[in-house]
Protein backbone atom coordinates (compact mmCIF):
# COMPACT_ATOMS: atom_id res chain seq x y z
CA UNK A 1 0.00 0.00 0.00
CA UNK A 2 1.18 3.48 -0.73
CA UNK A 3 1.03 5.94 2.15
CA UNK A 4 2.08 8.99 0.19
CA UNK A 5 0.09 12.06 1.12
CA UNK A 6 2.10 14.44 -1.01
CA UNK A 7 0.25 17.02 -3.07
CA UNK A 8 -0.46 16.36 -6.69
CA UNK A 9 -1.99 19.66 -7.71
CA UNK A 10 -4.88 18.09 -9.60
CA UNK A 11 -7.45 20.47 -8.13
CA UNK A 12 -7.75 24.25 -8.17
CA UNK A 13 -6.93 26.24 -5.05
CA UNK A 14 -9.62 28.86 -4.42
CA UNK A 15 -12.64 26.64 -5.17
CA UNK A 16 -11.15 23.81 -3.12
CA UNK A 17 -10.47 25.97 -0.09
CA UNK A 18 -13.98 27.44 -0.26
CA UNK A 19 -15.61 24.05 -0.81
CA UNK A 20 -13.75 22.53 2.11
CA UNK A 21 -14.90 25.36 4.35
CA UNK A 22 -18.51 24.85 3.20
CA UNK A 23 -18.35 21.09 3.59
CA UNK A 24 -16.92 21.36 7.07
CA UNK A 25 -19.56 23.92 8.01
CA UNK A 26 -22.37 21.70 6.69
CA UNK A 27 -21.22 18.86 8.90
CA UNK A 28 -21.27 21.10 11.97
CA UNK A 29 -24.51 22.90 11.02
CA UNK A 30 -26.35 19.64 10.53
CA UNK A 31 -24.96 18.56 13.94
CA UNK A 32 -23.08 15.60 12.51
CA UNK A 33 -26.05 14.17 10.67
CA UNK A 34 -25.00 10.87 9.05
CA UNK A 35 -26.66 11.87 5.78
CA UNK A 36 -24.56 15.02 5.45
CA UNK A 37 -21.39 13.16 6.42
CA UNK A 38 -22.11 10.45 3.89
CA UNK A 39 -22.63 13.05 1.17
CA UNK A 40 -19.37 14.78 2.11
CA UNK A 41 -17.49 11.48 1.97
CA UNK A 42 -19.09 10.73 -1.38
CA UNK A 43 -18.19 14.15 -2.78
CA UNK A 44 -14.59 13.92 -1.59
CA UNK A 45 -14.17 10.46 -3.02
CA UNK A 46 -15.67 11.55 -6.33
CA UNK A 47 -13.49 14.64 -6.37
CA UNK A 48 -10.22 12.89 -5.92
CA UNK A 49 -10.29 9.15 -5.68
CA UNK A 50 -6.76 8.81 -4.32
CA UNK A 51 -7.39 10.87 -1.20
CA UNK A 52 -8.66 7.57 0.19
CA UNK A 53 -5.00 6.47 0.18
CA UNK A 54 -4.31 8.61 3.18
CA UNK A 55 -7.13 7.12 5.21
CA UNK A 56 -5.10 4.14 6.54
CA UNK A 57 -2.71 6.66 8.09
CA UNK A 58 -5.54 7.94 10.25
CA UNK A 59 -6.93 4.51 11.11
CA UNK A 60 -5.58 4.48 14.68
CA UNK A 61 -7.15 7.87 15.25
CA UNK A 62 -10.48 6.88 13.72
CA UNK A 63 -10.44 3.64 15.71
CA UNK A 64 -9.80 5.49 18.95
CA UNK A 65 -12.60 7.89 18.17
CA UNK A 66 -15.03 5.11 17.32
CA UNK A 67 -14.32 3.22 20.53
CA UNK A 68 -14.46 6.24 22.80
CA UNK A 69 -17.72 7.51 21.30
CA UNK A 70 -19.16 3.99 21.64
CA UNK A 71 -18.60 4.16 25.38
CA UNK A 72 -19.95 7.67 25.51
CA UNK A 73 -23.13 7.13 23.56
CA UNK A 74 -23.61 3.61 22.26
CA UNK A 75 -23.43 2.01 18.86
CA UNK A 76 -25.50 4.47 16.83
CA UNK A 77 -23.71 7.48 18.27
CA UNK A 78 -20.37 5.87 17.62
CA UNK A 79 -21.24 5.13 14.00
CA UNK A 80 -22.45 8.66 13.39
CA UNK A 81 -19.40 10.27 14.96
CA UNK A 82 -17.00 7.99 13.11
CA UNK A 83 -18.62 8.82 9.81
CA UNK A 84 -18.41 12.53 10.60
CA UNK A 85 -14.73 12.18 11.54
CA UNK A 86 -13.96 10.41 8.30
CA UNK A 87 -15.80 13.11 6.38
CA UNK A 88 -13.85 15.89 8.12
CA UNK A 89 -10.56 14.11 7.60
CA UNK A 90 -11.26 13.51 3.94
CA UNK A 91 -12.10 17.12 3.27
CA UNK A 92 -8.89 18.07 5.09
CA UNK A 93 -6.95 15.66 2.90
CA UNK A 94 -8.40 17.43 -0.11
CA UNK A 95 -6.65 20.61 0.99
CA UNK A 96 -3.38 18.73 1.40
CA UNK A 97 -3.55 17.76 -2.27
CA UNK A 98 -3.01 21.40 -3.20
CA UNK A 99 0.50 22.65 -3.89
CA UNK A 100 1.48 24.62 -0.76
CA UNK A 101 1.98 27.86 -2.67
CA UNK A 102 -1.43 27.59 -4.29
CA UNK A 103 -2.99 26.90 -0.91
CA UNK A 104 -1.27 29.99 0.48
CA UNK A 105 -2.35 32.13 -2.46
CA UNK A 106 -5.95 30.93 -2.07
CA UNK A 107 -5.86 31.76 1.62
CA UNK A 108 -4.63 35.25 0.85
CA UNK A 109 -7.33 35.51 -1.85
CA UNK A 110 -10.08 34.83 0.68
CA UNK A 111 -8.65 37.55 2.89
CA UNK A 112 -5.93 36.04 5.06
CA UNK A 113 -2.96 38.49 5.18
CA UNK A 114 -0.29 37.48 2.69
CA UNK A 115 2.50 37.04 5.20
CA UNK A 116 0.33 34.73 7.33
CA UNK A 117 -0.58 32.73 4.29
CA UNK A 118 3.10 32.42 3.40
CA UNK A 119 3.81 31.13 6.88
CA UNK A 120 1.32 28.35 6.20
CA UNK A 121 3.09 27.38 2.99
CA UNK A 122 6.42 27.59 4.76
CA UNK A 123 5.12 25.43 7.59
CA UNK A 124 4.18 22.80 5.03
CA UNK A 125 7.66 22.95 3.52
CA UNK A 126 9.26 22.68 6.96
CA UNK A 127 6.96 19.78 7.71
CA UNK A 128 8.37 17.91 4.71
CA UNK A 129 11.96 18.79 5.59
CA UNK A 130 11.48 17.58 9.15
CA UNK A 131 9.66 14.48 7.96
CA UNK A 132 12.64 13.61 5.75
CA UNK A 133 15.03 14.46 8.58
CA UNK A 134 13.17 12.19 10.96
CA UNK A 135 13.16 9.39 8.42
CA UNK A 136 16.91 9.72 7.86
CA UNK A 137 17.63 9.84 11.59
CA UNK A 138 15.67 6.64 12.10
CA UNK A 139 17.38 5.00 9.16
CA UNK A 140 20.80 6.01 10.47
CA UNK A 141 19.99 4.71 13.94
CA UNK A 142 18.94 1.36 12.52
CA UNK A 143 22.59 0.54 11.88
CA UNK A 144 23.33 0.74 15.57
CA UNK A 145 22.81 -2.05 17.99
CA UNK A 146 21.55 -0.53 21.20
CA UNK A 147 18.58 1.78 21.73
CA UNK A 148 18.10 2.77 18.10
CA UNK A 149 14.87 4.62 18.89
CA UNK A 150 16.40 6.77 21.59
CA UNK A 151 19.39 7.56 19.43
CA UNK A 152 17.23 8.52 16.50
CA UNK A 153 15.24 10.89 18.67
CA UNK A 154 18.45 12.45 20.01
CA UNK A 155 19.80 13.01 16.52
CA UNK A 156 16.46 14.35 15.36
CA UNK A 157 16.25 16.89 18.18
CA UNK A 158 19.72 18.23 17.35
CA UNK A 159 19.06 18.26 13.63
CA UNK A 160 15.73 20.03 13.96
CA UNK A 161 17.21 22.73 16.18
CA UNK A 162 19.95 23.31 13.60
CA UNK A 163 17.33 23.34 10.86
CA UNK A 164 15.16 25.96 12.49
CA UNK A 165 18.11 28.30 13.02
CA UNK A 166 19.15 27.71 9.43
CA UNK A 167 15.66 28.43 8.18
CA UNK A 168 15.56 31.79 9.89
CA UNK A 169 19.00 32.52 8.49
CA UNK A 170 17.86 31.57 5.01
CA UNK A 171 14.81 33.82 5.13
CA UNK A 172 17.11 36.66 6.15
CA UNK A 173 19.62 35.86 3.40
CA UNK A 174 16.97 35.69 0.74
CA UNK A 175 15.40 38.99 1.59
CA UNK A 176 12.06 37.56 2.73
CA UNK A 177 9.35 40.17 2.69
CA UNK A 178 6.20 38.08 3.00
CA UNK A 179 5.26 37.65 -0.65
CA UNK A 180 4.16 34.32 -2.04
CA UNK A 181 5.70 33.13 -5.31
CA UNK A 182 3.32 31.49 -7.76
CA UNK A 183 -0.01 32.20 -9.45
CA UNK A 184 -3.52 30.98 -8.99
CA UNK A 185 -4.79 28.56 -11.59
CA UNK A 186 -8.07 29.01 -13.43
CA UNK A 187 -10.76 26.74 -12.02
CA UNK A 188 -12.03 24.01 -14.33
CA UNK A 189 -15.63 22.82 -14.72
CA UNK A 190 -15.07 20.06 -12.18
CA UNK A 191 -13.84 22.62 -9.65
CA UNK A 192 -16.96 24.74 -10.11
CA UNK A 193 -19.20 21.68 -9.88
CA UNK A 194 -17.57 20.69 -6.63
CA UNK A 195 -17.94 24.21 -5.26
CA UNK A 196 -21.61 24.36 -6.28
CA UNK A 197 -22.36 20.99 -4.69
CA UNK A 198 -20.71 22.02 -1.45
CA UNK A 199 -22.71 25.27 -1.40
CA UNK A 200 -25.91 23.33 -2.04
CA UNK A 201 -25.05 20.92 0.74
CA UNK A 202 -24.44 23.79 3.13
CA UNK A 203 -27.75 25.43 2.15
CA UNK A 204 -29.71 22.22 2.57
CA UNK A 205 -28.14 21.32 5.89
CA UNK A 206 -28.81 24.83 7.19
CA UNK A 207 -32.44 24.76 6.09
CA UNK A 208 -32.81 21.28 7.52
CA UNK A 209 -31.22 22.31 10.80
CA UNK A 210 -33.46 25.40 11.09
CA UNK A 211 -36.60 23.34 10.45
CA UNK A 212 -35.98 20.97 13.33
Amino acid sequence: MNFEIGWTGGVEGRTTVLSVIFLTLSIYVSSFSPVTSAIVVLLCVLRKADCLNALPLFLPFIGFFAVSSFFLGGLYHSGVMTLATIALLLSGVLVSSLPPSEFALSLSWIGVPESWAFQVALALRVFYVLKEDARHCFEAAKFEGKFPYLRAVKAFVSVSILRSVALAETLYCRGYSGKIPGVLKKPKVADYLFLVSSVLLLVFSTVWALNI
Partner: protein
Protein backbone atom coordinates in the same frame (compact mmCIF):
# COMPACT_ATOMS: atom_id res chain seq x y z
CA UNK B 1 41.60 40.54 8.70
CA UNK B 2 41.21 42.88 5.82
CA UNK B 3 39.61 42.20 2.52
CA UNK B 4 38.91 44.94 0.03
CA UNK B 5 36.74 44.55 -3.01
CA UNK B 6 37.07 46.86 -5.88
CA UNK B 7 33.66 47.90 -7.02
CA UNK B 8 32.14 46.29 -10.05
CA UNK B 9 33.06 43.15 -11.77
CA UNK B 10 35.60 41.52 -9.60
CA UNK B 11 35.53 37.80 -9.11
CA UNK B 12 37.15 36.70 -5.85
CA UNK B 13 38.10 33.20 -4.85
CA UNK B 14 38.39 32.57 -1.12
CA UNK B 15 40.72 29.75 -0.24
CA UNK B 16 41.77 28.36 3.10
CA UNK B 17 41.86 25.30 5.26
CA UNK B 18 38.80 23.51 6.59
CA UNK B 19 37.48 25.47 9.54
CA UNK B 20 39.56 28.63 8.99
CA UNK B 21 36.60 30.99 9.08
CA UNK B 22 35.55 31.45 5.48
CA UNK B 23 31.90 30.97 6.31
CA UNK B 24 32.18 33.49 9.10
CA UNK B 25 33.68 36.05 6.76
CA UNK B 26 30.95 35.55 4.19
CA UNK B 27 28.32 35.95 6.87
CA UNK B 28 29.66 39.36 7.74
CA UNK B 29 29.17 40.48 4.15
CA UNK B 30 25.42 40.22 4.20
CA UNK B 31 25.07 41.29 7.80
CA UNK B 32 24.15 37.91 9.26
CA UNK B 33 26.99 38.71 11.60
CA UNK B 34 26.53 40.87 13.65
CA UNK B 35 22.95 41.93 12.85
CA UNK B 36 21.35 38.52 12.97
CA UNK B 37 23.59 36.55 15.28
CA UNK B 38 25.02 39.27 17.42
CA UNK B 39 28.60 38.96 18.51
CA UNK B 40 31.41 41.46 18.35
CA UNK B 41 32.79 42.83 15.15
CA UNK B 42 35.94 44.87 15.31
CA UNK B 43 36.94 46.89 12.29
CA UNK B 44 34.71 47.88 9.42
CA UNK B 45 32.72 45.88 6.95
CA UNK B 46 31.54 48.16 4.24
CA UNK B 47 29.47 46.92 1.33
CA UNK B 48 28.82 49.52 -1.36
CA UNK B 49 29.32 52.15 1.28
CA UNK B 50 26.76 50.63 3.62
CA UNK B 51 27.09 48.04 6.28
CA UNK B 52 26.58 44.42 5.34
CA UNK B 53 23.02 43.72 4.25
CA UNK B 54 21.12 40.98 2.44
CA UNK B 55 19.88 43.28 -0.32
CA UNK B 56 23.26 43.98 -1.85
CA UNK B 57 24.85 40.67 -1.03
CA UNK B 58 23.10 37.43 -1.81
CA UNK B 59 24.68 34.69 0.27
CA UNK B 60 24.28 30.99 -0.41
CA UNK B 61 25.30 29.03 2.67
CA UNK B 62 26.61 25.52 2.96
CA UNK B 63 23.78 23.05 3.30
CA UNK B 64 21.51 23.12 0.25
CA UNK B 65 18.65 21.48 2.10
CA UNK B 66 18.42 24.43 4.47
CA UNK B 67 18.32 27.01 1.72
CA UNK B 68 15.11 25.83 0.19
CA UNK B 69 11.90 27.51 1.34
CA UNK B 70 9.44 26.66 -1.43
CA UNK B 71 7.86 23.44 -2.55
CA UNK B 72 8.62 23.49 -6.24
CA UNK B 73 11.87 24.28 -8.01
CA UNK B 74 10.47 27.10 -10.11
CA UNK B 75 9.00 28.95 -7.13
CA UNK B 76 12.26 28.43 -5.31
CA UNK B 77 14.40 29.99 -8.01
CA UNK B 78 11.95 32.87 -8.42
CA UNK B 79 11.58 33.42 -4.66
CA UNK B 80 14.04 36.28 -4.18
CA UNK B 81 12.74 38.14 -7.19
CA UNK B 82 9.17 37.90 -5.94
CA UNK B 83 10.29 39.20 -2.55
CA UNK B 84 11.69 42.26 -4.31
CA UNK B 85 8.31 42.91 -5.86
CA UNK B 86 8.90 41.49 -9.33
CA UNK B 87 5.71 40.28 -11.00
CA UNK B 88 5.33 36.52 -10.97
CA UNK B 89 5.21 36.32 -14.77
CA UNK B 90 8.61 38.02 -15.14
CA UNK B 91 10.11 36.24 -12.19
CA UNK B 92 9.01 32.94 -13.65
CA UNK B 93 10.59 33.72 -17.01
CA UNK B 94 13.91 34.67 -15.40
CA UNK B 95 13.86 31.53 -13.29
CA UNK B 96 13.20 29.36 -16.31
CA UNK B 97 16.00 31.02 -18.25
CA UNK B 98 18.42 30.50 -15.39
CA UNK B 99 17.56 26.83 -15.08
CA UNK B 100 17.83 26.46 -18.84
CA UNK B 101 21.36 27.89 -18.76
CA UNK B 102 22.60 25.12 -16.47
CA UNK B 103 20.71 22.43 -18.40
CA UNK B 104 18.34 21.92 -15.52
CA UNK B 105 15.12 22.90 -17.21
CA UNK B 106 13.73 19.43 -16.57
CA UNK B 107 13.77 20.19 -12.83
CA UNK B 108 11.28 23.08 -13.15
CA UNK B 109 8.17 21.29 -12.01
CA UNK B 110 9.85 18.95 -9.55
CA UNK B 111 8.98 19.06 -5.87
CA UNK B 112 11.97 20.30 -3.94
CA UNK B 113 11.88 17.49 -1.41
CA UNK B 114 12.47 14.82 -4.06
CA UNK B 115 15.69 16.29 -5.44
CA UNK B 116 19.08 14.66 -4.90
CA UNK B 117 21.52 16.69 -2.81
CA UNK B 118 23.46 17.88 -5.84
CA UNK B 119 20.27 18.94 -7.58
CA UNK B 120 19.26 20.87 -4.46
CA UNK B 121 22.59 22.63 -4.50
CA UNK B 122 22.18 23.48 -8.15
CA UNK B 123 18.78 24.96 -7.40
CA UNK B 124 20.16 27.16 -4.62
CA UNK B 125 22.92 28.41 -6.90
CA UNK B 126 20.36 29.14 -9.61
CA UNK B 127 18.26 31.15 -7.16
CA UNK B 128 21.31 33.29 -6.46
CA UNK B 129 22.02 33.83 -10.14
CA UNK B 130 18.39 34.72 -10.78
CA UNK B 131 18.33 37.25 -7.92
CA UNK B 132 18.87 40.96 -8.42
CA UNK B 133 21.61 41.48 -5.83
CA UNK B 134 24.75 43.32 -6.85
CA UNK B 135 27.08 40.86 -5.19
CA UNK B 136 26.75 37.10 -5.04
CA UNK B 137 28.55 35.22 -2.29
CA UNK B 138 28.78 31.44 -2.28
CA UNK B 139 29.96 29.18 0.48
CA UNK B 140 31.21 26.03 -1.24
CA UNK B 141 28.69 26.03 -4.05
CA UNK B 142 30.27 23.11 -5.87
CA UNK B 143 30.74 20.65 -3.03
CA UNK B 144 27.96 18.36 -4.20
CA UNK B 145 28.11 19.09 -7.92
CA UNK B 146 29.61 16.87 -10.58
CA UNK B 147 32.85 18.46 -11.90
CA UNK B 148 31.42 19.05 -15.38
CA UNK B 149 28.38 20.75 -13.97
CA UNK B 150 30.56 22.75 -11.56
CA UNK B 151 32.56 24.04 -14.50
CA UNK B 152 29.40 24.99 -16.32
CA UNK B 153 28.06 26.91 -13.33
CA UNK B 154 31.43 28.59 -12.94
CA UNK B 155 31.33 29.75 -16.57
CA UNK B 156 28.01 31.40 -15.91
CA UNK B 157 29.22 33.06 -12.72
CA UNK B 158 32.36 34.39 -14.35
CA UNK B 159 30.53 35.81 -17.33
CA UNK B 160 28.10 37.59 -15.01
CA UNK B 161 28.82 41.29 -14.60
CA UNK B 162 28.18 41.30 -10.86
CA UNK B 163 30.70 40.85 -8.08
CA UNK B 164 31.11 37.21 -7.21
CA UNK B 165 32.78 35.82 -4.10
CA UNK B 166 33.24 32.07 -3.96
CA UNK B 167 34.71 30.09 -1.11
CA UNK B 168 35.86 26.73 -2.41
CA UNK B 169 38.25 23.88 -1.73
CA UNK B 170 38.84 22.74 -5.27
CA UNK B 171 41.78 24.97 -6.00
CA UNK B 172 41.77 23.82 -9.59
CA UNK B 173 38.80 26.11 -10.12
CA UNK B 174 40.58 29.20 -8.85
CA UNK B 175 42.67 29.96 -11.96
CA UNK B 176 39.97 31.84 -13.78
CA UNK B 177 39.15 34.20 -10.95
CA UNK B 178 40.49 37.75 -10.86
CA UNK B 179 41.88 37.33 -7.41
CA UNK B 180 42.52 34.52 -4.96
CA UNK B 181 42.35 35.47 -1.35
CA UNK B 182 44.11 33.10 1.01
CA UNK B 183 42.85 32.95 4.53
CA UNK B 184 45.27 31.92 7.19
CA UNK B 185 44.30 30.14 10.32
CA UNK B 186 44.81 26.51 11.06
CA UNK B 187 42.24 24.03 12.09
CA UNK B 188 43.26 21.39 14.55
CA UNK B 189 41.81 18.60 12.59
CA UNK B 190 44.11 16.33 10.69
CA UNK B 191 47.38 18.07 11.55
CA UNK B 192 49.08 14.75 12.00
CA UNK B 193 47.49 13.13 8.98
CA UNK B 194 49.67 12.60 5.97
CA UNK B 195 48.96 10.95 2.71
CA UNK B 196 49.39 7.22 2.91
CA UNK B 197 50.84 5.24 0.10
CA UNK B 198 48.34 2.70 -0.92
CA UNK B 199 48.82 0.31 -3.79
CA UNK B 200 45.96 -1.36 -5.50
CA UNK B 201 45.86 -4.98 -4.60
CA UNK B 202 45.95 -7.83 -7.02
CA UNK B 203 42.98 -10.11 -7.27
CA UNK B 204 44.77 -13.19 -5.94
CA UNK B 205 44.38 -11.98 -2.40
CA UNK B 206 40.63 -11.75 -2.68
CA UNK B 207 38.76 -13.23 0.17
CA UNK B 208 35.10 -13.32 1.06
CA UNK B 209 32.46 -11.82 -1.18
CA UNK B 210 30.62 -9.01 0.61
CA UNK B 211 28.38 -7.34 -1.95
CA UNK B 212 27.25 -8.56 -5.32
CA UNK B 213 24.97 -6.85 -7.79
CA UNK B 214 23.76 -8.90 -10.71
CA UNK B 215 21.66 -7.08 -13.26
CA UNK B 216 20.44 -5.05 -10.31
CA UNK B 217 17.68 -2.48 -10.49
CA UNK B 218 16.95 0.00 -7.74
CA UNK B 219 13.83 2.03 -7.05
CA UNK B 220 13.25 5.33 -5.37
CA UNK B 221 9.61 5.38 -4.41
CA UNK B 222 7.90 4.13 -7.52
CA UNK B 223 10.58 5.36 -9.89
CA UNK B 224 13.32 3.08 -11.17
CA UNK B 225 16.58 4.98 -10.77
CA UNK B 226 19.26 2.41 -11.60
CA UNK B 227 19.04 -0.63 -13.84
CA UNK B 228 21.26 -3.37 -15.21
CA UNK B 229 24.05 -2.86 -12.70
CA UNK B 230 26.76 -5.52 -12.21
CA UNK B 231 29.63 -5.54 -9.74
CA UNK B 232 31.22 -7.57 -6.95
CA UNK B 233 32.97 -6.28 -3.87
CA UNK B 234 35.24 -8.50 -1.77
CA UNK B 235 36.81 -8.09 1.64
CA UNK B 236 39.49 -5.43 1.70
CA UNK B 237 38.25 -3.68 -1.43
CA UNK B 238 37.48 -0.01 -1.81
CA UNK B 239 35.03 1.03 -4.47
CA UNK B 240 34.16 4.49 -5.75
CA UNK B 241 30.68 5.28 -7.05
CA UNK B 242 30.66 8.19 -9.46
CA UNK B 243 28.18 9.73 -11.84
CA UNK B 244 26.23 12.86 -12.64
CA UNK B 245 24.00 14.56 -10.09
CA UNK B 246 20.86 12.57 -9.66
CA UNK B 247 22.28 9.49 -11.36
CA UNK B 248 21.54 7.37 -8.30
CA UNK B 249 24.74 7.16 -6.24
CA UNK B 250 22.99 7.79 -2.96
CA UNK B 251 20.21 5.49 -4.04
CA UNK B 252 22.70 2.69 -4.70
CA UNK B 253 24.27 3.06 -1.25
CA UNK B 254 20.83 3.11 0.33
CA UNK B 255 19.90 -0.06 -1.51
CA UNK B 256 23.03 -1.84 -0.26
CA UNK B 257 22.22 -0.64 3.25
CA UNK B 258 18.74 -2.13 2.85
CA UNK B 259 16.94 1.20 2.96
CA UNK B 260 15.65 1.19 -0.60
CA UNK B 261 13.80 -1.38 -2.66
CA UNK B 262 16.03 -3.24 -5.09
CA UNK B 263 16.31 -6.42 -7.16
CA UNK B 264 19.48 -8.41 -7.63
CA UNK B 265 21.67 -7.09 -4.81
CA UNK B 266 23.15 -9.55 -2.33
CA UNK B 267 24.79 -8.30 0.82
CA UNK B 268 26.87 -10.53 3.12
CA UNK B 269 27.85 -8.64 6.24
CA UNK B 270 26.66 -5.76 8.34
CA UNK B 271 26.38 -2.51 6.40
CA UNK B 272 26.78 0.88 8.04
CA UNK B 273 25.97 3.97 6.03
CA UNK B 274 27.08 7.50 6.67
CA UNK B 275 24.69 9.93 5.02
CA UNK B 276 25.41 12.92 2.80
CA UNK B 277 24.25 15.16 5.66
CA UNK B 278 26.41 14.08 8.62
CA UNK B 279 23.98 15.23 11.29
CA UNK B 280 21.78 12.18 10.84
CA UNK B 281 24.53 9.75 11.73
CA UNK B 282 25.76 11.60 14.82
CA UNK B 283 23.44 10.71 17.64
CA UNK B 284 25.49 10.35 20.80
CA UNK B 285 25.87 12.97 23.48
CA UNK B 286 29.61 13.38 22.95
CA UNK B 287 32.16 12.96 20.21
CA UNK B 288 33.86 10.30 22.31
CA UNK B 289 30.64 8.32 22.34
CA UNK B 290 30.53 8.19 18.57
CA UNK B 291 33.96 6.89 17.74
CA UNK B 292 36.55 4.98 19.84
CA UNK B 293 39.33 7.08 21.34
CA UNK B 294 42.21 5.68 19.35
CA UNK B 295 40.44 6.38 16.10
CA UNK B 296 39.81 9.97 17.20
CA UNK B 297 43.47 10.27 18.00
CA UNK B 298 44.54 9.01 14.58
CA UNK B 299 42.48 11.72 12.96
CA UNK B 300 43.41 14.51 15.32
CA UNK B 301 39.96 14.83 16.86
CA UNK B 302 40.81 13.67 20.38
CA UNK B 303 40.52 17.07 22.01
CA UNK B 304 36.91 17.30 20.98
CA UNK B 305 36.08 14.05 22.77
CA UNK B 306 33.83 15.76 25.32
CA UNK B 307 32.06 18.14 22.97
CA UNK B 308 28.63 17.58 21.50
CA UNK B 309 29.06 16.23 17.96
CA UNK B 310 26.71 18.83 16.50
CA UNK B 311 28.84 21.66 17.83
CA UNK B 312 31.73 20.80 15.51
CA UNK B 313 32.30 22.53 12.20
CA UNK B 314 30.69 20.94 9.20
CA UNK B 315 33.93 19.44 7.88
CA UNK B 316 34.70 17.92 11.25
CA UNK B 317 31.22 16.49 11.51
CA UNK B 318 31.63 14.91 8.12
CA UNK B 319 34.85 13.19 9.12
CA UNK B 320 33.32 12.03 12.37
CA UNK B 321 30.30 10.57 10.58
CA UNK B 322 32.55 8.74 8.13
CA UNK B 323 34.61 7.31 10.99
CA UNK B 324 31.46 6.13 12.67
CA UNK B 325 30.63 4.05 9.62
CA UNK B 326 33.68 1.92 10.42
CA UNK B 327 31.42 0.11 12.86
CA UNK B 328 30.04 -1.90 9.98
CA UNK B 329 31.64 -4.63 7.91
CA UNK B 330 30.47 -2.90 4.78
CA UNK B 331 31.33 0.78 5.08
CA UNK B 332 29.07 2.98 2.96
CA UNK B 333 30.17 6.61 2.65
CA UNK B 334 28.11 9.21 0.82
CA UNK B 335 30.31 12.17 -0.21
CA UNK B 336 32.63 11.87 2.81
CA UNK B 337 34.92 14.63 1.56
CA UNK B 338 32.54 17.40 0.51
CA UNK B 339 33.69 20.57 2.24
CA UNK B 340 37.17 19.35 3.18
CA UNK B 341 40.26 21.02 1.80
CA UNK B 342 42.36 19.24 -0.77
CA UNK B 343 45.27 18.00 1.31
CA UNK B 344 43.04 17.00 4.16
CA UNK B 345 40.69 15.03 1.99
CA UNK B 346 43.39 12.92 0.38
CA UNK B 347 45.11 12.30 3.71
CA UNK B 348 41.81 11.46 5.35
CA UNK B 349 40.59 9.08 2.68
CA UNK B 350 43.91 7.30 2.27
CA UNK B 351 44.09 6.73 6.02
CA UNK B 352 40.54 5.50 6.02
CA UNK B 353 41.28 3.17 3.14
CA UNK B 354 44.22 1.73 4.99
CA UNK B 355 42.10 1.04 8.07
CA UNK B 356 39.41 -0.58 5.96
CA UNK B 357 41.99 -2.78 4.22
CA UNK B 358 43.72 -3.87 7.38
CA UNK B 359 40.52 -4.83 9.08
CA UNK B 360 39.28 -6.65 5.96
CA UNK B 361 36.15 -4.63 5.72
CA UNK B 362 35.06 -3.16 2.44
CA UNK B 363 34.16 0.42 1.63
CA UNK B 364 31.88 1.85 -1.01
CA UNK B 365 32.34 5.58 -1.46
CA UNK B 366 30.02 7.81 -3.47
CA UNK B 367 32.02 10.83 -4.59
CA UNK B 368 32.37 13.56 -7.21
CA UNK B 369 36.06 13.86 -6.58
CA UNK B 370 38.20 12.14 -9.20
CA UNK B 371 41.30 12.20 -7.01
CA UNK B 372 39.44 10.15 -4.44
CA UNK B 373 38.11 7.81 -7.09
CA UNK B 374 41.70 7.18 -8.22
CA UNK B 375 42.66 5.92 -4.77
CA UNK B 376 40.00 3.23 -4.95
CA UNK B 377 40.36 -0.25 -6.38
CA UNK B 378 37.70 0.31 -8.99
CA UNK B 379 34.95 2.67 -9.93
CA UNK B 380 31.27 2.11 -10.54
CA UNK B 381 30.10 4.79 -12.92
CA UNK B 382 26.36 5.32 -12.96
Amino acid sequence: MRLVFEAGEEKVFLAGKTGCGKSTLLRTLNGLIPDFYGGKLRGVVSVYGRKGNPEDVYLVTQHPEEQIVCSTVLEEVAFSLVQRGVEWRDARRIAEDTLEKVNAYHLCERKTETLSDGEKQLVTVCSAIASESRCLAFDEPFAHLHPDLARKVLDILLSDERTVVVSEHRLGLSERFDRVHWMGGESAIGVNLTKENIETRDCLERKRLLVRAKNASIFRGRRQVVEGLDFEVFEGEIVAVTGLNGSGKTTLLRAIAGLEKSDGIEVHGKPFMSFQYPGYTLNSGTVGGEVPAELLKTFGLEKYADRHPHSLSSGERRILAALKALRGKIVLLDEPTAGLDETLRIAFISKLIRIVRESSRCAIIATHDSSIAKLCDFEICL
